[in-house]
Amino acid sequence: MTAAGAAAVLEVSGLTVEFSLGGGVARAVDGVDLNVRPGEIVGMVGESGSGKSVTMLALLGLVPRPGRIVAGSVRLRGKELRDAGRRELASLRGRQMALIPSDAGAALNPVARIGVQVGEGLSAHLPELPRAERRGRILDILGRVGLPRPADQARRFPHELSGGMQQRVAVAMGVQLGPDLLIADEPTTALDVTIQAQILRLLLDVREQSGTSILFVTHDMTTVAEICDRVLVMYAGQIVESGPVVDVCTAPAHPYTRALLAAVPPLGGEPPERLTTIPGSPPDPRAWPAGCRFAERCALRASMGNPSECTSKAPPLVSVADGRRSRCHFSEAEDA
């Protein structure tokens, strides 16, 4: 399905976002390259503070003040979004690229009925659509995302729906105009496990039926392994590893990815005595360290006797195997 060579839906290169805060400048996203091919599900993984959410907002042109994109390019179907005006961007959002929020309960307008909210996207992008037809499409999409009795649900307020149903409504809003790219922002974190599985299934169905590409933003490696084709691992504003999900999960090249995977309880099996956590915290984005940004917390570096390269030279993102890249001076080094 990852038809190699097909024109990418989304191409991002050198994306850099800075926040100017009381005198200091925090570079939250630092030279991110990524692309998403048609029908592909790409996972973007990282802890909070890794820059994954800011990257996602930058793609949508929604970086909040005082942040701004200072460099790089974002192309959607070949069109440069950084050159697009406010109006043009708004017309792309929701139609060509859509967001599925993490907590639909908080992202839906609490005082508007479900049907009205779903209809807003339609009237914003297809204003000429006749009323009756709009109503038909609202009920149709609500039914397609698995809401029982769509006509009843459309009259309800968000707080009258369960969390899973709210999330289905959010998915409906995302897919109703058949976007090329869906950006899913941790769409399952607020839900319990069985509902999570249902929503993931729903996203896979959407991809199956419409060939929609999905950028799946999460902190959870398990979810990535379940539904993604490729994965990007972010740390301290940069991509530190990328590659096909199976390869990355079975043989991680970057020590940070390894640490993330070690923090995941094994599926189905007995949970281990204790889960490994990554000691320490990410560096201050107002003053990134000169060398490797993960050096402070790196188990590999410690096991190798703290080579000076780690703190003196910033490692580049280099190809380590077919379709795989890693940002480590010692990507090929054996696990200690």
């Binding site: 907002l57 949508l60 929604l62 909040p64 003040r65 406010r86 708004a90 017309s91 792309l92 959002r93 929701g94 139609r95 859509a98 967001l99 929020p101 907590d103 908080a106 992202a107 839906l108 307008n109 609490p110 005082v111 508007a112 807003e120 996207g121 914003a124 992008h125 009795r149 009843d152 009259r155 309800r156 307020f157 707080h159 009258e160 729906l161 369960s162 809003m173």
Partner: protein, 330 residues
């Protein structure tokens, strides 16, 4: 959290609003009752005896005794309260200690003037404070926000009588655009009545605006931080639609609550503004009654002001319920 019962959405909904309204109204009843006790107790709190306090220590004891009997002050407290309560329900607030006229008649006479002033002032406030508060709250930390915030901090420091004197001096005495003082009932001469209302209403409205602007700003700031605002942007909705349909619409319930507080400040402010512009409303009546120690009148006015405020708040709460489906359930 709620029933997902089959197709019962609408009837269930209306039931919730009705139940909410009944609960709110029932909660106001003990408050009104407490108010009647408070205003009744007020006159009995007076050190010594209200008639002696009014006429002075050297007053003729027989006259005092006569008046006490006339106003029923010599009867047991419980009976007095019973009379006060039954009278109140029938709209009879007793007679003035001073003029010996029925208090209800005097107050009813004054209410139109106060309502005219308060209503016009409210209009001024809404026109100034809501746009200012929304503009500041939409972009917190911006230059515009900083300017508006500074202006409200200054405005809060400007007393109504200072503002009123300034406006009177400028608009009435120097530019001679409007008459400086006076009141004509609206029914007698609408045009002149409105001309005379302009200056006091502008004064009161401007004086109250900083409060409402600040309340509006914080309500808007709070809503603008909610996740549904960026999500609305991500859906590609136009900024206008987001500002009105999302931010303002969700801030509206808090704004209605803020309006209750604003009306309270308006009532307090009207006492001062009525004095400044010789406006014959309830505020003048209160000050006159306190100065003349007409305790029956003070007692009745405390009751009327309190009841007015309880009713305004109740209306605000009911409007909140209508505007926010979540409030109805709480």
């Amino acid at each position: 959290m709620t029933g997902t019962g089959a197709g019962t959405t609408d009837p269930w909904e209306e039931g919730a609003m009705l139940r909410y309204a009944i609960r709110r109204i029932l909660l106001a009843v003990p408050l009104l009752f407490g108010l009647s006790v408070l205003s009744f107790g007020y006159v009995r709190l007076i050190p010594g005896d209200p008639i002696t306090a009014m006429l002075g220590v050297n007053s003729n004891p027989t006259v005092v005794a006569q008046l006490r009997e006339r106003f029923g002050l010599d009867r047991p407290l419980l009976n007095q309260y019973g009379d006060w309560l039954t009278g109140m329900v029938r709209g009879d607030l007793g007679v003035s200690f001073r003029s010996q006229m029925p208090i209800s008649t005097i107050i009813v006479d004054r209410i139109p003037a106060t309502l005219q002033l308060a209503g016009a002032a409210l209009l001024v406030t809404l026109l100034i404070a809501i746009p200012a508060g929304v503009a500041a709250g939409m972009r917190p930390g911006s230059r515009l926000d900083s300017m508006i915030t500074s202006a409200t901090l200054f405005g809060l420091a400007v007393p109504a009588f200072f503002l009123g004197s300034l406006l009177m001096l400028l608009l009435a005495l120097k530019l001679r655009l409007v008459p400086s003082q006076g009141y004509v009932p609206f029914a007698d001469d609408p045009a002149q009545s409105l001309r005379l209302t302009l200056l006091p209403a502008l004064t009161l409205g401007l004086a109250i605006s900083p409060y409402l602007a600040r309340l509006t700003r914080s309500a808007v700031v709070e809503v603008a931080q909610e996740p549904f605002v960026p999500f609305a942007r991500a859906k590609g909705l136009a900024q206008r639609k987001i500002s009105i349909g999302y931010v303002l619409r969700n801030a509206l319930p808090s704004l209605v609550a803020a309006l209750g507080l604003t009306i309270a400040s308006l009532i307090a402010g009207s006492i001062v503004v009525e004095a400044l512009f010789n406006w014959p409303g309830m505020g003048r009546l209160v000050v006159g009654a306190v100065t003349e120690r007409d305790y029956a009148m003070v007692q009745a006015l405390v009751l009327i002001y309190g009841a007015l405020f309880i009713v305004v708040n109740l209306a605000g709460e009911l409007a909140q319920g209508l505007l926010d489906p979540r409030v109805r359930l709480s």
